[in-house]
């Protein structure tokens, strides 16, 4: 009985976080609710005894992605909220249609997949970490390496774009005067 209660609680936390992340006015609050939703998700994984996935979710999403979201908000000045902007943007109908479509695409294969037929794995299978490690390095090492490469490429691209932005905007105002040759110091 107690495990059901915790599941309902975690599910409620995740859903509430997700909804709040969309609907709150202050964008920083949205990000924090999103982080709450990630944490709720991690709780559900841990509750299903999927330790590695739960801990990885906690480490990657709550630890890194949330901070990433926060940084993007701060650096692009999204934080100073322009009051009076409508909560629901005008094109909400198309948005709703697309999300319904995606929901269908996800739910149908999950429900019909054979994996769900037999009883969920009861109890902890022997050293799970060992199996995951061997799978990662053995069978699907190629996808792992390619995603790694893809991510580094994306990272380098982002850095290069950011670099151009800085030089394009020209040197900052107030270049240190005493480094200019022959500048008459002191009396500015």
């Amino acid at each position: 009985m107690p495990s059901d209660i915790t599941f309902y609680l975690l599910a409620a936390l995740t859903l509430a976080g997700a909804v709040a992340a969309m609907s709150l006015r202050n964008i920083v609050h949205c990000v924090l609710c999103a982080a709450g939703a990630f944490a709720g998700l991690a709780g559900i994984y841990l509750q299903l005894n999927a330790e590695f996935v739960g801990v990885a979710q906690l480490l990657v999403y709550v630890g890194a992605v949330a901070i990433l979201l926060v940084f993007t908000i701060l650096l692009t000045h999204g934080a100073d909220v322009k009051l009076g902007s409508a909560l629901i943007s005008s094109g909400w109908k198309t948005g709703l249609a697309i999300s319904a479509l995606v929901l269908v695409c996800l739910v149908v294969p999950v429900l019909t997949s054979p994996g769900l037929r037999h009883e969920a794995a009861s109890g902890v299978v022997a050293p799970m970490m060992q199996k995951i490690g061997e799978q990662l390095m053995g069978q699907c090492v190629l996808p792992l390496e390619t995603t790694g490469l893809l991510l580094t490429a994306a990272l380098l691209g982002a850095v290069v774009i950011a670099m151009n932005d800085k030089t394009a905007a020209g040197p900052k105002t107030g270049v240190p005067p005493n480094h200019e040759a022959g500048k008459e110091p002191g009396l500015r």
Partner: protein
């Protein structure tokens, strides 16, 4: 910097000029843990690097020079203690020196030696405390400062038994000193001076080799020699930039020409050089003290002709200056024959060393600004007068 209008941007009274997009304007001070008193810097930051710095001071202005004009000559001496309240002996000496020049009073032999001993002891603990405050600004929580204060306490006890007060000595008079060394004072002074080199070695072991200190201070706040000379910088800051100018050697006032000591000079002019200047100057001061204490002559400590009360020097002007621990401290007096000076002007080394703070800090981060300010070694009593 495009002319005056830009200056008004930082003037709090003026209309708020919108800064371009990502600059952050921070007022650092007057209530800030590491501005060495009530001193304020309006910083404009791009991220963490300083784009503009406008020093704002005057919070501790006590109208010292106007009071000097209404006080008689003797009455101004205790006020000079309050100028640079860390080294009040050297303040007294500078004032008394200029009055002696004005009124033509001579000083007996023993009084000159006492003045040298007392001034060099002040320089000793002023430099030790400056290094302690610098490390406090750099984040070493109190350890170097506590060692510095432990040594300072020993010297303050000496001054208390000599002049009656730990910091506000009011000890020097026109033509000599107020009272002679009490019994046993010279032995206590000799033991303090004898222990100091071991303390300095421990201090250097703790600090000079420290990689974090070197990384935080080398090539930070570089002051080119030409800019230093143009801006009238004096004292350890000037010598750290490689300029050989020490008033004890230039003017040879007091009996400094009888002592053999040398003047250390740096060559990079950054914060590390200024730190080393103070350490090396302390070692030179110890040489002077040893020689002065061993050759202390007997004799009167006050010129018999010198008048204590209603001193009325004949009309004229005089400028007396000494090598205070912070730089050239000068008193410019104009007398119109009356009991109080017509004009009483002070050349404060801390204020003049502070004028080029912006040149040193531009392009550095907030953490460096604090360290550079610490290396300038200002005392707000002297800056604001």
């Amino acid at each position: 910097m495009n002319g005056l209008t830009d200056k008004t941007a930082l003037n709090p009274g003026a209309a708020r000029v919108t800064l371009d997009h990502d600059l952050l304007e921070v007022a650092m001070g007057p209530h800030h843990p590491s501005t060495h008193g009530v001193f304020r810097m309006n910083l404009v930051l791009d991220g963490e690097t300083v784009v503009r710095l406008k020093p704002v001071f005057g919070y501790l202005h006590r109208n010292h020079e106007k009071i000097g004009e209404s006080n008689n000559y003797l009455g101004s001496i205790p006020y000079t203690d309050r100028l640079d309240y860390i080294c009040s002996m050297t303040n007294n000496w500078a004032y008394v020196l200029s009055v002696e020049k004005l009124a033509g009073i001579s000083v007996p032999e023993r009084a000159e030696y006492i003045r040298v001993i007392v001034a060099e002891l002040t320089r000793l603990f002023n430099h030790t405390c400056q290094v302690g405050f610098l490390l406090q600004d750099m984040g070493a929580l109190g350890t170097p400062l506590m060692y510095a204060f432990r040594e300072r306490e020993k010297i303050l006890d000496l001054f208390e038994s000599l002049s009656g007060a730990r910091m506000m000595h009011n000890y020097m008079r026109f033509g000599g000193c107020r009272c002679d060394f009490p019994a046993g004072w010279v032995e206590r002074a000799r033991s303090v001076v004898a222990h100091y080199p071991t303390f300095l070695d421990q201090f250097e072991a703790l600090l000079s080799g420290n990689e974090i200190l070197k990384v935080r201070t080398q090539k930070v706040g570089v002051l080119p020699a030409a800019l230093a000379i143009n801006a009238g910088i004096t004292g350890p800051m000037l010598r750290a930039s490689g300029v050989n100018y020490d008033i004890r050697k230039v003017d040879k006032y007091g009996v400094y020409d009888r002592f053999d000591f040398s003047v250390p000079m740096g060559e990079h002019g950054d914060v590390y050089d200024r730190y080393m200047m103070r350490i090396l100057e302390m070692r030179e001061t110890l040489k002077i003290l040893n020689q002065a204490i061993s050759t202390l002559p007997e004799g009167p400590i006050l010129d018999p002709k010198a008048k204590l009360r209603n001193l009325r020097p004949k009309a004229g002007e005089a400028y007396g200056r000494i090598e205070a621990p912070k730089g050239e401290l000068g008193f410019y007096l104009i007398s119109d024959g009356g009991p109080n000076p017509y004009r009483y002007r002070i050349r404060p080394p801390s204020l003049i060393n502070l004028t080029i703070l912006e040149d040193m800090c531009l392009g550095h981060t907030v953490a460096d600004v604090v360290v550079i300010l610490g290396s300038v070694d200002i005392v707000l009593g002297e800056v604001d007068r």
